[in-house]
């Protein structure tokens, strides 16, 4: 167990270093950072002074080490486009994205899991067939199209929900939240539904496949032979054993929710990190791109690590197999 954690930690570290290296190369090889900071009329001496001051004449490994040192402290320099420290910009945008992703993940799990169980148990029922067809259509519909259709129906035609922005937010320290006002809740509904639909279908199909697999096994037959109630068999024995892959996929999907939030945030003009990143790409705002990249990679790595560790908590079999006895 211990060796496993160490190995996974090392792997995560290597991934983070690789991502940091890509970010660093963005800074160094794309354009001249000095040109981005001084005006046209700066003299050669001023430029040289700035180069020395920024340490751009230092050897490559030293520059890279300095970059990592700064990055660890959250210092990614100043945004070219907004002329504000990148860490400030990200801090104001982070809550919006995290709240959106949180609501979407909860929705996907709370709706997807029961639907998956239902379609897995009633394999040939009419309801299952309808749900499966719907889910295939759901996978084929691009996220942004779903968002546009929701806007058309609920904002333009019915006028029930706002079509863009976060509505009213309440500031708690540096964190601004949607959850404390009615307008905030109303504005998060459509983006969250749009974002969760793909994950919802994924979770539903996964749970369904796993349920069908587990229901065929001998211990389920044995549980039935013991005369246990359907509910005990389905939820106590079957569902519990489908949880490992479900946890993996759900966990990993939180990462892709953050990535897909780029699209949802653009459709609904949600002022989160995704929108920020997209604008950074369009304006070649490298500090913001680099910071976003590192942050998202960090979140991904942490999630992957947590999912791996959760395995051990959920599935005792893994503990026995890997460590060969005590651990």
């Amino acid at each position: 167990m211990f060796a496993f954690i160490i190995r996974r930690l090392l792997q995560s570290l290597i991934v983070m270093l690789a991502v940091a290296f890509i970010s660093f190369s963005l800074f160094n090889f794309v354009g001249d950072p000095v040109n981005n900071m001084v005006g046209q009329e700066a003299t050669a001496e001023q430029r040289e002074a700035l180069r020395v001051q920024l340490g751009l004449n230092d050897p490559f490994p030293i520059q890279f080490a300095r970059f990592i040192g700064n990055a660890v402290q959250g210092d990614f320099g100043v945004s070219y486009r907004l002329s504000r420290p990148v860490s400030d910009v990200i801090a104001t945008r982070l809550p919006a994205t995290l709240e959106l992703v949180f609501v979407a993940a909860v929705l996907a799990l709370v709706i997807g899991l029961p639907l998956g169980v239902y379609t897995g148990l009633h394999r040939h029922g009419f309801g299952s067939k309808v749900l499966l067809t719907l889910s295939l259509i759901g996978i084929s519909l691009p996220t942004f199209l779903i968002g546009i259709m929701l806007i058309l129906i609920f904002a333009v035609w019915l006028g029930w929900l706002p079509s863009f922005g976060r509505g009213d937010t309440v500031q708690i320290g540096w964190w601004s939240t949607n959850f404390l006002t009615v307008a905030g809740w109303k504005s998060i509904i459509m983006p969250a539904v749009t974002l969760c639909l793909f994950q919802l279908t994924l979770i539903m199909r996964l749970v369904r496949a796993e349920m069908m697999e587990v229901l065929r096994t001998d211990y389920i037959k044995f549980a039935r032979a013991r005369g246990l109630s359907n509910r005990a068999v389905h939820f106590g024995h079957a569902l519990k054993n489908t949880m490992v892959p479900v946890i993996t996929i759900t966990g990993l999907q939180i990462g892709s929710l953050i990535a897909f939030a780029i699209i949802t945030e653009t459709v609904f003009q949600w002022p989160g990190m995704g929108l920020l990143f997209l604008q950074a790409i369009q304006f070649a705002d490298i500090p913001v791109m680099a910071a976003y990249l590192c942050l998202v990679a960090f979140i991904f790595v942490v999630i992957n690590l947590m999912v791996d560790l959760l395995y051990y908590a959920v599935d005792p079999r893994l503990r026995v197999e890997r460590s060969g006895g005590g651990h």
């Binding site: 199209l145 333009v156 079509s163 990535a259 369009q282």
Partner: protein, 321 residues
């Protein structure tokens, strides 16, 4: 004299081989399964129709949307024919500049399918080569390639494509980037999707390389590359075909998403995603057809290709038969 008889024999045997292959295909399980699922036949027909319409767009589209001379701003914002105020010349209505929506969809599908097809082809070649090298050579090469694949797989494709696009945008001057936008797009989508091919090919390679026919080929001294291409590749083609089909659907979707976000194809060559993006600006003024019809066209295309891919996976998998 002998030359010409040889020619005839060669052509005949080629023809026989072709006919034989054809007959075997039509008698085979795949075609049987195809004939017995109406949904798949429809999906196949729809896909073929899209490809035909896309590639014949300049000849079959009711209007040439690239020809600025034929456009008339007075024709702008016309609703579809069946709505009040519709114009019989424009079946699905017109957009803000008076372009026929049906025609823009055909030309848009042309761009979408070209980008999707080329990027999947490229991803396939890249994935097959790297997967085979990893599977056949093994050892350190294998470890390095697969580690990169693992890391890349833990990031969503859309993020990787966006990143490559952002990178090229900052490296290349603005004008050059506009010109190369399509190339960059194809390359980045291909680069984001090679992993699945590589993993599958590597897996199959590891299984196949210990079989007797590969050992026999090795014994007679064939070059490893030749063994891979002539002997192993045909045996792993099934799964590759499935991934390629599903990959086409996701590549078209990725391209549409990027174009919708405004970082994909240049606005001078609108794809389906660009059309949806442009149209969504007019949603609030009630002109829903400018964005909904291209959207529906995209969804139907992706659904049809996805259905084909799903079916192909089941049909080629002997375990499920």
């Amino acid at each position: 004299m002998t030359d010409s008889t040889d020619d005839i024999i060669v052509t005949r045997s080629l023809w026989f081989r072709f006919a034989d292959g054809l007959r075997r295909f039509f008698d085979g399980d795949v075609f049987y399964s195809f004939r017995h699922s109406p949904v798949i036949m429809v999906a196949f027909a729809v896909t073929v129709l899209y490809f035909l319409l896309a590639f014949l767009a300049p000849w079959v589209a009711p209007h040439n949307t690239y020809d600025v001379m034929t456009l008339n701003l007075m024709d702008g914002f016309k609703p579809p024919v069946w709505e009040a105020g519709g114009d019989p010349r424009f079946l699905l209505g017109t957009d803000d500049q008076g372009r026929d929506v049906l025609s823009t969809i055909m030309f848009g599908a042309r761009v979408s399918l070209t980008v999707g097809f080329l990027s999947v082809l490229l991803a396939m070649v890249l994935g097959i080569v790297l997967g085979m090298v990893a599977g056949y050579v093994g050892g350190k090469t294998d470890a390095i390639i697969m580690r990169i694949a693992d890391v890349q797989l833990s990031f969503p494709a859309i993020l990787i494509v966006l990143l490559i696009d952002g990178f090229t945008r900052s490296v290349l001057p603005r004008g050059v980037h506009e010109q190369l936008a399509l190339v960059v797009l194809v390359l980045s989508i291909a680069f984001a999707n090679w992993v699945q091919f590589a993993r599958t090919v590597r897996g199959s390679c590891l299984v196949e390389k210990n079989k007797e026919y590969v050992q026999a080929a090795r014994v007679i001294g064939l070059h490893p590359a030749l063994i891979m291409l002539r002997h192993v590749l045909p045996n792993v083609m099934g799964p590759i075909l499935v991934i390629a089909t599903l990959g086409l659907a996701s590549a078209v979707l990725t391209e549409a998403t990027l174009s919708f976000l405004g970082v994909g194809v240049p606005p001078t060559e609108p794809s389906l995603g660009t059309l949806i993006n442009v149209g969504s600006d007019y949603l609030f003024s009630g002109s829903w057809w400018i964005t909904i019809f291209p959207g529906a066209a995209l969804a139907v295309l992706v659904l049809a290709v996805n259905l084909l891919g799903d079916w192909l996976r089941d049909a080629l998998n002997p375990k499920l038969r």
